[in-house]
């Protein structure tokens, strides 16, 4: 074993890790608001809003991420008539794919707050919008926090898929270094430890929030 390869190539690896973090963060930042809109569509009483939302969510959740990424990679340039770059097309694929999962988390969060809470708010003369903002959403957000953090961890792990279009995220960077150094054992162990630390920290945080949720 020669662990010095890691120290030698650390700057390059860290650049890859930064790319992974950047991808995951941007995906969450864009997918979450999009998911909020679709979630409201999912629970709408109007069928012409509800059905398209449901079709979107079920289509995305019934396909592998890698297929969605490929699909957008080849489709987006056709639609807009020019290449958009690896990063942008991967981002779009990720955002669309993960927004479906976030949608379901948000929807169940809103539905976890009883209909009677809405009625209680309305009965006191608050408007529907006030009731949503001051009564339903604060409770919904607290209820869905653990699931949201868990999903963020999954997004971070999902960014590894970006290697299929040649994006140099963390795992792909590790792979490139093994090609040069022929030290796969050390490098992949290092990568596993890094992924473990990040993801375990995330899921611990989620567990912590789960406990707090039960207590209240």
């Amino acid at each position: 074993m020669d662990w010095s390869v890691i120290a030698t190539h650390l700057p390059f690896l860290m650049k890859g890790l930064w790319m992974s973090v950047k991808l995951a963060t941007l995906v969450v930042i864009f997918a979450f608001p999009l998911a909020c809109l679709i979630a409201v569509g999912r629970i709408s009483s109007r069928s012409w809003i509800r059905y398209p939302s449901a079709i979107f969510v079920n289509t995305m959740r019934s396909n592998p991420l890698i297929l969605i990424v490929f699909w957008f990679f080849f489709l987006v340039p056709i639609i807009i008539g020019r290449p958009v770059g690896d990063f942008a097309s991967v981002m779009i694929g990720f955002i669309v794919f993960f927004s479906a999962y976030f949608t379901e988390i948000i929807r169940s969060g809103i539905q976890s707050v009883g209909r009677n809470q809405i009625q209680a708010g309305l009965s006191t003369g608050l408007t529907y919008f006030q009731t949503m903002r001051m009564i339903v959403l604060p409770q919904a957000l607290r209820n869905m926090m653990p699931a949201l953090i868990t999903e963020c961890v999954i997004v971070f792990q999902g960014t590894t898929i970006a290697y299929v279009v040649g994006l140099r995220e963390f795992l792909n960077s590790t792979f490139l270094i093994t090609e040069i150094t022929l030290r796969p054992a050390e490098l992949y162990t290092f990568a596993a430890i890094v992924y473990f630390v990040v993801c375990f920290a995330g899921s611990s945080l989620a567990r912590q929030m789960e406990k707090r949720k039960v207590r209240t």
């Binding site: 009883g114 009677n116 809470q117 009625q119 209680a120 708010g121 309305l122 009965s123 006191t124 003369g125 608050l126 408007t127 006030q130 001051m134 009564i135 604060p138 409770q139 607290r142 209240t216």
Partner: protein, 246 residues
């Protein structure tokens, strides 16, 4: 006779194909406490929820102080004059009791924070739980929660109070404290519509009884008259069963 506070005319309500309320016409006068009773599924709660349009009825109309609910341009403002108490309290679990009570006065009625809090504390005093003001609902007993919910409804300074089976979710020893708060309220002259199975309360406190079955008002009488001399067979059967005459 003065105009009724609530006037219900030809009211019908369907849930999908099921007709929950069948062409109901009746009215309620200010200052009276009326108990609505009847077997489960008879439409009592549905009728109550039509009075502040929490249920969207399909036919007929309800008038509150002469204002049609169907044509009301600002239903939220109308609802802010009607307090409602629910079976499962429906306090907001993420807020303190004080915040629960001041929310609507501040945001629906435009009261200042200081005024709303002063009012809330007076009301909590009245239902005897002023020491719980800064706790969250989950820290209170069921009876205390329901009294807090009554205070929340009273904070609207309502002209009418609706009670939807307010003691059905409570342990027996807690029912008394809630009924006592309701009795005091009735004695102070509050107009109340109460859906309940508590016949002791009905007999002692209410002025009138409305008996419903299958979405219709079967019988409406002054309280003493209803208990001593129920007119319809269905009301007799209901009373026998609920008072456990065998």
């Amino acid at each position: 006779m003065s105009d009724p506070l609530v006037d219900i005319r030809d009211l019908s309500l369907w849930y999908e194909k099921f007709k929950a309320l069948d062409n109901i016409s009746t009215s309620f006068t200010a200052g009276k406490c009326v108990v609505i009773c009847g077997p489960s599924g008879s439409g009592k709660s549905s009728l109550l929820r039509c009075v502040n349009r929490l249920e969207d009825f399909q036919e007929g109309d309800v008038y509150f102080e002469g204002q049609s609910l169907r044509e009301c341009p600002n239903i939220a403002s109308l609802r802010s004059n009607i307090g409602m108490v629910f079976q499962h309290f429906e306090l907001y679990p993420h807020m303190t009791i004080l915040d629960n009570i001041t929310l609507a006065p501040r945001h629906a009625k435009g009261k200042s924070k200081a005024d709303a809090e002063a009012l809330a504390l007076t009301l909590l005093e009245r239902v005897d739980i002023v020491d719980q003001a800064h706790k969250h609902p989950a820290e209170l007993s069921g009876g205390q929660q329901q009294r807090a919910a009554i205070a929340r409804a009273l904070a609207l300074e309502p002209k009418l109070m609706l009670f939807d089976e307010p003691t059905s979710a409570l342990d027996p020893e807690m029912i008394v404290e809630v009924l006592r708060a309701m009795r005091d309220l009735a004695n102070d002259g509050m107009t109340m519509l109460v859906v309940t199975h508590e016949m002791g309360f009905a007999r002692e406190v209410s002025d009138e009884i409305v008996f419903m079955d299958e979405g219709k008002i079967v019988e409406r009488k002054e309280t003493n008259d209803f208990f001593s001399n129920p007119h319809s067979k269905r009301a007799q059967d209901f009373l026998d069963r609920i008072l456990m005459k065998i």
